[in-house]
C-alpha cells in the first residue's frame, strides 16, 4: 500500500506533463482542424467548418507536390542513401586494411565531428560551402566540371540533392558508427568457416555479414524514417521551402500555413494528415523497436 502511494508519486509528475504536452495537444489539434481558427483572431476563437479544411487541402494543387517532396526526397532518398553510405563507411572502417594503416581510430574520431555538429550548424556550414562563390563551386570550377558557378540552393535542379547532401553529412556518421559496432559482434569463426568452404568476398558479405547486420539496419532504417519525415529544420533553414515553394514538405507547410498565412485551422488539418501517416509507421515502430527496447531495458 505504501509502495503504491510511492509509485504514484514518482510517476505522476511525468505522466501529467507528458499528457499536457503530447496527449492533450494532439486531440486539440484535431478539434482546431475542424475550425477556421486564425492566428490573428485566437481570442475570438474559430467557427466550426467541418471537413472544409480537409477538402480544401486535398483539392489544392500544391498538396501532391508537397507529399511527393516529403515521401520521395525528404524520406525515401535520404533514408536509403543514409543506410547505404552508413553501411559502406562501416564496412570500410572494419576492413583490415584500415587497421593496418592505423586509420581506423582516426576515422572513428572523424565520424564524431559531423555527428556532434548540431543540425542548425550543419545547415550553416553547407550554405556557406554551397554559396555561389563558395568552396564547392570553386572546386568544381578548378576541376573543369562546370564553367559557371551554380546557385545550389536556389536552382531547382540542384536544390533537393543539396538538401539531401546536408542531411547525409550530418546523419550518416551515426548510422556508420551503429553498424560498425554491430559488425564487431560478428564472430570470426563464421568468416573462417565460410572461407574454408571457398566463399568469395561477396558471398561472405551476402551470407554472413548482411544477415548479422539486418536487425540493426531495420531498426536504424525505421528510426531514420521517423526522423526524416518529421524533420523541419533542414528544409526550413536551408531553403525556407524555396525557391518559391519548390522544396515545401509537410512539416514546413504546417509552419507556413500557421505562422505565415495565420490559418491555424488549415495548418492543423495538414498536421492531422502528418500524424495519421506517422501513426501507421508508429504501429510498426511499436511492434519492431519499442517492444525490443522494452525487452532490453525492463
Amino acid at each position: 500500500m505504501r509502495d503504491r502511494l510511492f509509485i504514484t508519486t514518482m510517476l505522476l509528475p511525468t505522466v501529467v506533463l507528458l499528457l499536457l504536452f503530447y496527449g492533450y495537444p494532439i486531440f486539440d489539434n484535431l478539434r482546431i482542424s475542424f475550425t477556421d481558427l486564425s492566428l490573428l483572431g485566437m481570442r475570438r476563437g474559430g467557427n466550426w467548418v467541418g471537413l472544409a479544411n480537409y477538402r480544401e487541402l486535398f483539392h489544392s494543387g500544391g498538396f501532391g507536390h508537397i507529399l511527393f517532396n516529403t515521401f520521395v526526397w525528404l524520406t525515401a532518398t535520404s533514408v536509403i542513401l543514409r543506410l547505404l553510405m552508413g553501411l559502406g563507411i562501416a564496412l570500410l572502417l572494419h576492413t583490415s586494411a584500415l587497421k593496418q594503416l592505423r586509420l581506423a581510430a582516426l576515422a572513428r574520431f572523424a565520424l564524431l565531428i559531423p555527428w556532434a555538429t548540431p543540425p542548425i550548424v550543419a545547415v550553416v556550414i553547407w550554405r556557406f560551402l554551397l554559396e555561389r562563390n563558395g568552396a564547392v563551386n570553386g572546386a568544381l570550377e578548378a576541376l573543369g566540371i562546370i564553367d559557371h558557378p551554380i546557385a545550389f540552393l536556389a536552382d531547382m535542379r540542384t536544390v533537393w540533392p543539396s538538401i539531401v547532401a546536408i542531411m547525409l553529412w550530418n546523419t550518416v556518421p551515426l548510422i556508420a558508427l551503429s553498424l560498425l559496432s554491430s559488425l564487431q559482434t560478428v564472430p570470426d569463426e563464421y568468416y573462417e568457416a565460410a572461407e574454408l568452404d571457398g566463399a568469395t568476398n561477396w558471398q561472405m558479405f551476402r551470407f554472413v555479414t548482411l544477415p548479422f547486420l539486418m536487425p540493426a539496419i531495420l531498426v536504424l532504417g525505421l528510426m531514420s524514417v521517423f526522423w526524416s519525415f518529421n524533420n523541419f529544420v533542414y528544409v526550413w533553414l536551408a531553403t525556407g521551402a524555396g525557391p518559391g515553394t519548390y522544396t515545401n514538405v509537410l512539416a514546413t507547410e504546417v509552419y507556413l500555413k500557421a505562422f505565415v498565412d495565420f490559418k491555424l485551422g488549415y495548418s492543423s488539418a495538414i498536421g492531422m494528415v502528418m500524424a495519421l501517416i506517422m501513426g501507421a509507421f508508429g504501429i510498426v515502430y511499436l511492434r519492431l523497436v519499442a517492444r525490443q527496447q522494452l525487452e532490453e531495458t525492463l
Binding site: 510511492f6 509509485i7 508519486t9 514518482m10 509528475p13 511525468t14 506533463l17 507528458l18 499536457l20 504536452f21 503530447y22 495537444p25 489539434n29 482546431i32 481558427l37 485566437m42 570500410l92 586494411a97 584500415l98 593496418q100 582516426l106 576515422a107 565520424l111 564524431l112 559531423p114 555527428w115 556532434a116 555538429t117 548540431p118 542548425i120 550548424v121 550553416v124 556550414i125 556557406f128 560551402l129 562563390n133 563558395g134 546523419t171 558508427l177 572461407e195 571457398g198 536504424l220 526522423w227 518529421n230 523541419f232 512539416a251 504546417v254 509552419y255 500557421a258 505562422f259 495548418s267 492543423s268 498536421g271 492531422m272 506517422m278 508508429g282 519499442a290 517492444r291 527496447q293 522494452l294
Partner: protein, 281 residues
Amino acid sequence: MRGAARGASRHWRDPRPTALIVAAILAILTLFVLVYPAIYVFIGSFRPGGGLLSATTTFTFRNYVHIFQAGFGRFIVNSLVICVAATVASTALSVMTAYAFSRFNFRFKRTLFMGILFGQVFPWIVLINPLFVVFATMHLINSYIGMILTYTAFTIPFSVYMLVGYLVTVPKSLDEAAIIDGASRWQVIWLIICPVMLPGLVATATYAFLLCWTEYLFALAFLTQTDLKTLPLGLYQFFGEDNVDWGAVMAASVVTTLPVFLLFLPIQSRISPGRIAGAVK
C-alpha cells in the same frame, strides 16, 4: 594449391596491396568530406567576411567582437537559463519515473513505458498549433517558463529510456540494505542510487541539455521577442534578407558548437548510437 594461395591472399586479415591502396584512398576521401567542412568554417570564423570574398589569410577576432556587440551574449544567457532549468527538471522527473519502472511492478507498466517511448518518435511539428493556442491564453509565449516546460516535456522520453537502462543494472539489494538501515525510498533514490549511477546520470543530463541547446522549432514558434530568443534563433538572425554576414554567422556557429563538442565528446561512448537514434530529431 592455387585455391589455397588465393584464399590466403584474399584472407580478410591480410589484404593485398591494391586493396590497401583502394581502402586508403576511400578512407582519406571520406575523412576529408566529413571533417573538412567543419574545419573550413572554424577557420572562416577568424577571417574577414568569413573568407568568402577575400583570399587573404588575415587572422582576426573581429567577427567574434561583432556578434557580441550585436547582442549575441543575450542569446547565450537565454539559452543557458532555459536549457539548464529544463535539464534539471527533466532529469529529476526522469530519475523518479525510471526508478519506479526499474524497481516495481504495477498495472499498465508496459503500456505506460511504451507510451513514453513513443514520445521519441512523435511529430513535434503537429503539437505546435495547439500548444501555441494554449500558451497564448496562458501568457507563456515569450516566456522562460513556457520554454522550460516545453523542453522538459520533450526531453523526458529519451531521459527515462536512458535512465531505466542504467537503473536495471544497479542491484536491488543496494536499496534493500539502505532501507533496512532506516532510509526512506526517497533518500534511497537521491543519496544511494544517484551517486552509484552518476556516470549514466551525467551522460543523460548532458544529452538532454544538448537537445535543448540546439532546438530550433519550438523556439521559433514560441519566442518572437528579440531579447528572449535562444542561441539557434540568434544564429540565424545574421542571415539577412538579401545578403548574409558570413563572418558573423561563422563566429556564431563556432560559439554554438564549441560547447556541444566539449560536452558531447566525453559522453558519446556512454550513449550508444542505437539509443541516440531514438532521440535525434
